[in-house]
């Protein structure tokens, strides 16, 4: 894994000409390829972009999108911002937590589903909103949520 992460990170950085200002794009690509940003990739990117490890680590931890551990097989993000709150979004978060047996932000014990909060998908007139593996879902209801979870094998 470490060697693979090193090679992947080095290749992606090279695609961007090892430019430090492209770090966020590079991290997006590394995460897309590896599922997360492992410590080995942080070390490689620091070397390739001529940054300190602290600088790369700082960026990885600053942005909510980047994870340092692999996610579950499916990632369900439920909007917790005001427009969705007004439509009962919080009850759906609680329901998903209950079904998956994890607090929002965690991964179910069987590793199938990671449940994450998201603050606004820009679908605020068709809420509550969610995103399952990149697919947007609007007008979420309890039955619709159950169907999504069932589809994800939870």
């Amino acid at each position: 894994m470490t060697a693979a992460a090193d090679t992947t990170a080095r290749e992606i950085a090279a695609e961007h000409g090892n430019r430090a200002d492209a770090l966020i794009e590079i991290l997006h690509q590394v995460q897309a390829a590896l599922g997360h940003v492992p410590e080995a990739a942080v070390r490689t990117l620091a070397d390739a972009l001529n940054l300190s490890r602290a600088e790369v680590h700082g960026v990885v931890t600053f942005y909510h999108d980047f994870r340092d551990k692999p996610a579950g097989r499916h990632v369900l993000k439920i909007c917790r911002a005001e427009a969705c709150q007004a439509m009962g979004g919080e009850a759906l978060v609680a329901r998903a937590e209950d079904r998956l047996g994890v607090a929002c932000g965690g991964t179910s014990a069987d590793g199938r589903v990671t449940l994450e909060p998201i603050y606004c998908l820009g679908l605020c007139a068709t809420g509550p909103s969610a995103m399952l593996d990149g697919e947007v879902v609007g007008r979420l209801t309890a039955p619709k949520l159950d169907a999504l979870l069932k589809g994800a094998g939870a």
Binding site: R19, I24, V59, H64, A81, C120, A125, T126
Partner: protein
């Protein structure tokens, strides 16, 4: 004649099944051996009707909504594929779309094409008035363009409302080998989606607006920072850039003018604070989105230390109209110092939610009760948050406030990016105040103490109030803390979090008076 059917591919429409409806229609057409032309458009902004299917009947577009995939069979047997039959009597028929009151009452200077045309058809864009603004801009001197924008009274649509003409003039007057145009498309405010709709539904308008800005200030490079939560907008905008480049509207010789301007899309990574302009610039340079102290202003030292115009999507999108129709035509709309139109976004618990572009001056109550139709749940409206998570909560008593920068400021609120989030009478305003602090704590960049520490202490103090612990002492503590955050924070995140908190406290004090509870008592 081939029947033309329009189905949105706006993310909000897709979220409620537009792709499935389009798929079912294609299948039905193939099964019936009919050739139909399905045009995927942006959204008209009438979100409660999505998916909204439109069919051209005798040159007029008739709407059907809300169309579920299960409705397709019925629509087909009513004559959808032939564009006639008994279609107009179908239970989901809405009649001619342009005649729907919600749409007919708007003043769409900016969103006129959104939902009407194929967003990636340059031909359709031109046929509906596109690139006339650029054409006019190319006939003017850079100073002439800046002057036109200044005279229009256009102010920054991201929230701050800073006069766009002054910003552009500053960059125009600042010497620099390289200057940049940066578009802030990090639309993180809950209750707002106008930027997203525009990027998905009429991306050439933003390209044209940014190009005009580039010509005005002498910038050859433009960067648009889009949040990662908007994958559809990113895809649409990238596709539009490629088309514009191929057509010679971006690149080294824009529209054969010998002037260069090109665009690049950069993607955020889920940090709300990057909507703050200096944090956004840090992020574009590949760093943590830490707010920069001002001065220097981005207009003097912005991206990579170069003079930079940084504006919101809607500010750039207003420029083509201003140039094409003239500053005066634009400035004739609006009230006071708020000129032109604002795409207001009606969201949350609202019956007729969506995008409503209108001249400044419309009253908040008219927006919520009349245009928005009250709540979706049918319960009374109790509070309305205007301007995103950093905006104030308004009670019914303030519904006579006109939509205008100064009028909202006078009532300790802000219009921000034009989001209006409606709550019914089940809302607990102490919880909303707590959330404002909590959100600030989650999203704080950490540079200044009032925001970094104050947000966490604020949430803790509201917890005590909610538990009924010494409410008087804790309420005065929250008030004091809000003052510190308001005047001591470096940017609007910490500086404006007091708006939702204090408005909840001032307008809904009854929600903060609780009898002490046992710690283990359930909610």
């Amino acid at each position: 004649m081939t029947v033309r059917i329009y189905i949105p591919k706006d993310a909000a429409a897709i979220a409620v099944g537009a792709d499935k409806v389009a798929g079912a229609l294609k299948q039905a057409a193939a099964g019936a051996g009919r050739v139909v032309e399905i045009v995927r458009t942006g959204s008209r902004g009438m979100m409660w009707l999505e998916p909204l299917v439109e069919v051209e009947i005798a040159g007029v577009r008739h709407g059907f909504g809300t169309v579920e995939p299960e409705d397709v069979a019925g629509l087909v047997s009513a004559g959808l594929l032939e564009g006639g039959g008994s279609l107009q009597g179908h239970p989901k028929a809405l009649g001619p779309v342009d005649k729907i009151g919600y749409l007919a009452r708007q003043t769409r200077l900016m969103f006129g094409r959104c939902g009407v045309t194929d967003p990636l058809s340059l031909e359709a864009y031109r046929a509906h008035g596109g690139y006339k603004g650029l054409e006019r801009a190319l006939s003017l001197t850079p100073a002439g363009i800046v002057d036109e924008v200044a005279k229009s009274g256009l102010r920054g649509r991201g929230g701050a409302g800073f006069p766009t003409g002054i910003k552009w003039k500053t960059v125009h007057d600042t010497a620099g080998e390289q200057k940049y145009i940066v578009c802030n498309a990090d639309e993180g405010d809950s209750g707002t989606f106008a930027d997203r709709m525009l990027m998905e539904g009429d991306p050439f308008l933003l390209i044209e607006g940014m190009t005009i800005a580039g010509l005005a200030v002498g910038a050859t490079k433009g960067v648009i920072y889009v949040r990662s939560e908007y994958p559809h907008a990113i895809a649409a905008f990238n596709a539009a850039i490629a088309i514009a480049r191929k057509a010679g509207l971006l690149g080294s010789d824009v529209a054969s003018s010998k002037r260069a301007f090109d665009l690049e899309v950069r993607i955020g990574a889920g940090a709300y604070v990057c909507g703050e302009e200096t944090a956004l610039l840090e992020s574009l340079e590949g760093r943590r989105g830490i707010v920069r102290a001002k001065p220097p202003l981005p207009a003097h030292k912005g991206l990579f230390g170069c003079p930079t115009v940084i504006n919101n999507v809607l500010t750039f999108a207003a420029a083509p109209f201003v140039l094409a129709e003239g500053a005066k035509t634009y400035a004739d709309y609006g009230m006071g110092r708020s000129r032109g139109t604002m795409p207001i976004q009606l969201a949350g618990n609202i019956k007729y939610g969506g995008l409503y572009e209108t001249a400044f001056g419309v009253k908040l109550g008219e927006l919520v009760d009349d245009i928005g139709g009250g709540t979706a749940t049918g319960r009374p409206v109790r509070a309305v948050q205007v301007g995103g998570p950093l905006g104030a909560y308004f009670p019914r008593a303030l519904f006579d406030t006109p939509f205008d920068y100064e009028a909202f400021t006078a009532r300790d609120g802000l219009i921000g990016h034009g989001g209006v989030v409606v709550f019914d009478d089940t809302v607990d305003m102490a919880k909303q105040a707590r959330f404002a602090f909590e959100f600030c704590a989650i999203e704080s960049c950490g540079k200044c103490t009032p925001c970094r520490i104050g947000s966490t202490r604020g949430a803790e103090t509201i917890d005590k109030i909610m538990a009924g612990e010494g409410p008087d002492d804790h309420l005065s503590l929250v008030t004091d803390l809000c003052n510190t955050m308001k005047f001591g924070s470096l940017c609007a995140l910490g500086g404006f979090t007091p708006y939702p908190v204090m408005s909840a406290l001032n307008h809904f004090p009854e929600d903060f008076r609780r009898t002490p509870r046992m710690p283990q008592a359930a909610e």
